[in-house]
Amino acid sequence: MRIDLEIRKELRSGPRVFRLDVRLATQGQRVVIFGPSGSGKSLTLKAIAGLMRPDEGHVRLDGTTVFDSGAGVNLPPQARGVAYLFQDYALFPHLTVRQNVGFVLARGWLNPRSGEIHEAVDYWLAAFNLQDVAHQFPVELSGGQRQRTALARALVARPRALLLDEPFAALDPALRQRMRVELDELQTRLGVPMIIITHDPEDVAAFGEQVLCMNEGQVVPQAQGLLSVGLAA
């Protein structure tokens, strides 16, 4: 996926001002945006998905302009065709695993019924080994099962890119290593482009085909970025 992004955003919280000023152009199947917490990684990812509106700039995905303040273009998140994996997965607590995974397939005002069978849903439930917990609610799942459910839900929509916000931060270290391997295999198998944001150097080692470092709202040279995390940790 080719990403061409140049955005500015000013956020105020009382007397504190945070300035996001990101410029990046990258092409690759696996892009890692790396930096300490509070560096603006999440905001950048949200701007790509359409969940945060920059003050000015542009965002282009594979040549399609999804945001351009100059031209007055701002596609809603619904129209951008990307999947977003939230840090704590944002599974719908009132729906079962099967309903969560099938969420995208039901249109209109109603959620999929709990007994509804759909080929694509069954395929992804099997692919992520979730058949046994399909009838359970998110609160009853383990951390790994939650992440798999969130991935399945995202992939049913056939996104053109997968955006992952600190995908392993909510997992314990042993599980983290296993899920890294799973995600690695999945990405290789599906060939869906992936953008991962993380503050964990091990994620960079596992997925860092293309690495961008961020610090204090800006993209910085890699060495400086690693150093800033080292100092912060």
């Binding site: 998905a49 359409g50 969940l51 809603p76 998140p77 619904q78 951008r80 990307v82 999947a83 977003y84 939230f86 704590d88 944002a90 719908f92 607590p93 009132h94 969420f103 995208v104 039901a106 249109r107 209109g108 005002w109 109603l110 959620n111 839900r153 995202a154 929509a157």
Partner: protein
């Protein structure tokens, strides 16, 4: 016992309509106050809470001024639609709706504010329309709080007395609700009838409160 059951039927009808009206208005305003950012939002919230603290007779007086025969709105309703609201059960519905309104929009606002915005964002990224997000994520997650408010509103509307008496009067079989009938029975020295009416009213309110407490444990018990 005939008049007692007539009064109960009328009370249920008035409270039912008032609850239905508040399901739309109260939930709508609650959502608006929870999500929209506009100047004067807190002032509006305070203003809309007034029916909870103002004496019902004062509300009844305001209503008479607003929709009474001599008012601008009352004249317009009579002349163009042929509708008269004063001394009708529909007038009692309006009075009960206003009195119960804060009991719906306040919990609804709190319930909407408690919904994790990230879940709505997740639904948007999955391609679900804004209307779909509301009906498939926001409303189901806020529903318990809203339902508890609606049940309280129903109980409050059942017990409405002051504003109803001012606006709808006390016409047996037409506008005389349970709570008004109790007052009339006591005034007329019909103690047996009064005792029956009181018992029916109390039972109905206990049933509603029990259901409300079951739907939102803690929230109502702590009040």
């Amino acid at each position: 016992m005939e008049p007692a059951w007539t009064a109960l039927g009328l009370s249920l009808k008035v409270a039912g309509w008032a609850t239905l009206i508040n399901l739309v208005l109260g939930v709508g305003v609650g959502y608006l106050l929870a999500r929209a950012r506009f100047p004067g939002r807190d002032v509006l919230d305070t203003f809309l809470t007034l029916p909870m603290v103002l004496p019902p007779t004062v509300l009844g007086y305001y209503l008479l001024v607003a929709i009474g025969r001599k008012s601008w709105l009352g004249t317009w309703l009579r002349e163009s639609l042929g509708v008269n609201l004063i001394f009708t059960w529909q007038g009692a519905v309006i009075a009960a709706s206003i009195v119960a309104f804060p009991l719906v929009f306040k919990p609804a606002r709190a319930a909407f504010e408690a919904v994790d915005g990230q879940l709505e964002q997740a639904a948007r990224v999955l391609g679900v329309s804004e209307v779909g997000v509301f009906f498939r994520v926001t409303l189901p997650l806020a529903w318990r709080g809203i339902l508890a408010g609606l049940l309280l509103a129903f109980a409050r509307a059942m017990g409405e007395f002051g504003a109803t008496l001012m606006v709808a009067g006390s016409i047996p079989g037409k506008t005389q609700t349970l709570s008004v009938a109790v007052y009339e029975a006591v005034q007329a020295g019909q103690d047996d009838l009064a005792a029956t009416l009181v018992l029916i009213t109390s039972m109905a309110c206990v049933v509603v409160l029990l259901s409300a407490g079951r739907l939102a444990p803690g929230r109502i018990a702590n009040r």
